[in-house]
Symmetry: C2
């Protein structure tokens, strides 16, 4: 048997689809690390990069040790969370007015936190995160029923036709992004009430069951998404009702029909990982019935937390010194906070300047 | 708050420990791809490499596009599964007699299959796989009880003091390697009977729940392990008994005490991922109580299936031609099977010859 004779299973094909950027995007030489305070927090593609060049007071373009395209850093002269947020938002509002990026037409006045190693660096309008390849976090609830006749059944929602993203597509029963100021379980409980009117005596049975991570790309931008997943077993007679106008229908499907729905073009691609993970954890998709089982499980948990590793040399030096400082009595003076602003040391250059290796700190 | 002030959680520390090779091993310039039939199936460290140089009729040492250390290929003149297995085993028996590798002192006369993209290429004595960095597969059963007083409780086994690997250490209730000729669920059921005397009316409740993957290194060698995990809820009054002499004790522990046991030096490091995954899937370890939750979930599913990507140029060409052949009427003659033997075209060179880029096919 030759390896090329092995049939690519539909499930592996789908796992590759929602990881299209993870599997092929890094080879295209079209991306630049996006840095805030010397640490990488995202990736910027050429179409966005070209627009950011218009704001040299906000974005510094530098050489990069790893990509000949260079990197983009939010001006390190911005002193704190508040100033970084404000300066970036001005650019985003400007870009939104220009109407060049369809992602920004879905502006929600809802912010996601941009972090590096647990440190919150700024907040960013949710609709803009795909333009910067910033990691997004959300919650999803698998609402399921152990049906006396049909066995394991799963509730799905059909998104409202008015939603900015994925209108009319089938989706998990309950899901939502993690906005600034809300906790993870708190968001799950809030969304359960808003999207499906799940009463508190049922929602108390929510079970945290892990997370899935994948890296999808669409014409809207980049989606390095992590979804915290919760399972919620529901009574056979419970029927969800939408309360916030974002859902047009709910449907309870036996596991096999649910899986078929996920394979259709009517299902939101970026919600498929949650359903597949659920069906794996509950013994419906197994190593016995899916040839590519291990590969699929790995593609449900791609290493997003270790993808963004680029740090400026100055930031590396500061961290090394801090580590030494913690390990033993300080022998070297730590650089002051504002020494991280190295904008003035480095000429701002456009991509057209080409690649020339140069210390950036 | 500086990032270096964030406390490394014990759980993240443990996840880094059982992924010590995944996180740092690739940077050491101490490893070479191991190829069989033109496809990478493992990694070979310098201590093993030096011994393999003594068998030039079995191992070909070549230049490699990615590492200056070169690569090791099982002689492509060996025609089939049987001949490859036989030739390699002769070397392994020889190395075992020399007594240089402690891993081989645990010889079991039990073989693991060496595969690339679902194609079985040869079988290898289980004890030898760490020397070649060959991916290992096993099964693990989480035996648990919903205790009326103590809540979620987990059965652990203490390994016999006579076991070659991890003697006397605490471990999952049931576990075993996937040997040639046995299926995944079949292995789980067999081990459940042998290790814990679980009767068939209980074992029928086994639920497949996914797999964990990690890449550990010890003085025994390399462990790129994938464990298929099964959950088995047991009645409160069931007590496991060992039937094969490989277990010296069983103990039922509440989830918190089980977690503490996993952190001790008395627990088998490479079994920790299975327990952590179980406690995550069952809502005991959550994003609310573990700061590094997403990072830990990713470290329980590292991408082993996409790590071994090296192919010889000839193999790449054959695969391309086969793909064209499948997609359209054949326009080019496919190379005959034995044209994959390119040993005679390439001088066999020792590492000492240094690095010189050369086409190897």
């Amino acid at each position: 048997m030759s390896s090329t004779e092995v049939k690519l299973s539909r499930l592996l094909g789908l796992a590759q689809k929602f990881n299209n950027f993870y599997l092929t995007g890094f080879h295209k030489n079209d991306i630049r690390p996006f840095l805030v305070e010397g640490r990488q927090v995202g990736l910027i593609k050429s179409d966005v990069f070209k627009q950011l060049l218009k704001y040299p007071q906000v974005f510094c373009i530098r050489d990069c040790d790893y990509t000949k395209q260079g990197l983009v850093e939010l001006n390190p002269a911005f002193r704190d969370y508040h100033e970084r947020t404000e300066q970036l938002e001005k650019v985003l509002l400007d870009l939104r007015r220009d109407g060049l990026f369809s992602a920004l037409q879905g502006w929600r006045d809802e912010c996601f936190e941009v972090k590096s190693e647990h440190k919150a660096l700024l907040k960013m309008e949710r609709a803009a995160t795909p333009l910067f390849g910033v990691r997004k976090y959300g919650v999803d609830i698998n609402g399921y029923v152990r049906h006396p006749q049909h066995g394991l059944c799963i509730w799905l929602q059909q998104r409202s036709n008015n939603k900015e993203t994925w209108p009319g597509k089938w989706d998990n029963m309950v899901g939502g992004g993690l906005s600034v100021g809300y906790g993870i379980k708190e968001t799950a409980i809030k969304e359960a009430a808003e999207e499906a009117s799940i009463p508190s005596d049922l929602v108390k049975n929510l079970v945290s069951a892990g997370c899935v991570s994948f890296f999808f790309e669409s014409d809207q931008g980049l989606f390095p998404n992590t979804e915290y997943v919760f399972d919620l077993e529901l009574p056979v007679d419970f029927i969800p009702h939408n309360a916030d106008g974002e859902v047009q229908a709910f449907e309870l499907l036996p596991a096999n029909k649910c899986m078929e729905r996920v394979f259709t073009a009517d299902f939101k691609t970026t919600s498929a990982p949650v359903v597949i993970d659920f069906l794996i954890r509950h013994g419906y998709i197994t190593a016995e019935n899916e040839l590519n089982f291990t590969q699929i499980v790995e593609l449900l948990h791609v290493p997003l937390q270790s993808l963004y590793t680029y740090k400026t040399r100055l930031e590396q030096k500061i961290q090394q010194q801090q580590q030494q400082h913690q390990a033993q009595p300080p022998q070297v003076a730590l650089p002051k906070d504002d020494s991280n602003c190295n904008c003035s040391d480095m000429p701002i250059r456009s991509l057209e300047n080409g690649h020339s290796k140069k210390e950036n700190a």
